[in-house]
Symmetry: C2
Subunit: 198 residues, 2 copies
């Protein structure tokens, strides 16, 4: 057996270098050499952990996406006890590009979308990401429904898709400064008003 090295952690380290480059200078800036330099390793090392550049990019986008979940859960936990509606509001707020961290996330997501338009595996990744987000929102809506804080005749799956659409649609105008944070939050609140009672 070889040197004792955590294979997956190395891959994640490199992936984060990719993410750094992609979010600050675009996908085209993430070449094998620049990635190696950013990660502080040799180019041969990058090649050792990823057979091709495509595989590296895909893994990086996947990893960046996977990091979103834990972050949101951590911030939600830190926020302390909130009402169901407040929790919901905070959750969606975390998805919007308000702080620099979220803006990075949005920029990475833009790269994912653009690549997903022309690359099969990335397309699948983006597709799953949207499906998973919607499914998650739907599950959470189920909890709200159990708590009877919701109109009884509400179509939950459709409400989930509606909510996801609003948040996703706020993201880009926000990122480009076409909407102000206040305007975006007003829209988000209006949407939540349609779900939560009183």
């Amino acid at each position: 057996m070889p040197k004792q090295v955590d294979h997956d952690e190395r891959r994640r380290t490199i992936a984060e270098a990719v993410i750094e480059l992609v979010t600050t200078a675009g996908v085209e800036a993430a070449s094998l050499r620049t990635v190696a330099a950013e990660a502080g390793v040799s180019m041969g090392s990058v090649q050792h952990y990823f057979k091709t550049k495509d595989e590296m990019l895909l893994f990086a986008l996947e990893h960046g996406n996977a990091m979103l979940g834990p972050r949101v859960q951590r911030l939600l936990a830190e926020a302390g006890p909130l009402s169901l509606r407040e929790t919901y509001r905070l959750f969606f707020t975390l998805l919007l590009p308000f702080d620099e961290q979220s803006r990075r996330g949005a920029r990475l997501w833009a790269a994912l979308i653009a690549r997903g338009c022309v690359d099969g595996p990335t397309h699948r990744l983006a597709s799953d990401a949207y499906a998973n987000l919607t499914a998650f929102v739907l599950r959470e809506l189920g909890k709200v429904a159990e708590a009877k804080e919701i109109p009884a005749d509400l179509d939950l799956p459709q409400a989930a898709r509606h909510l996801v659409s609003v948040v996703e649609g706020l993201r880009w105008p926000l990122l480009f400064g076409a909407f102000t944070p206040e305007q975006a939050l007003a829209v988000l609140d209006a949407q939540l008003d349609r779900i939560f009672l009183g």
Copy 2:
């Protein structure tokens, strides 16, 4: 004076070659050489009309975006006499990736967003595009308000932003197949229900 050539039309021709490449293979596929080949001209010609690649890309994205307006207006005119609400619904439907033409538009838009994250001029372009769309929707909403087909207490600017968000947010899940067209239209109709009376 030189050969009789419509300068702007040549630029547009080249821009459309760029759009073709970008929407089918991504921005990275649009090199000076491939663009020249796609447009059926020499590489020197491309250089003659665009000083740098950045300028070419920016113009192409701008042109592709500018073509959207006339197309929508034409299709709206062709649709014949519709009620205000039907017109509105058709308008937003045309923005969503239902037919191949609109899907191309969405893919181009994805390239615009991704590039706008890391390139100043493109950022401005994207920002203006969102602002203009919202302003247009707001103007149209004003007409609906005059026709008294709208709740009197509705906050029009906010309603416009909400509408734009929903449509923009439906675009990507649709493009990646996470939502079906029926699901998307249901969300759109639900949103229109909040604006139009009866």
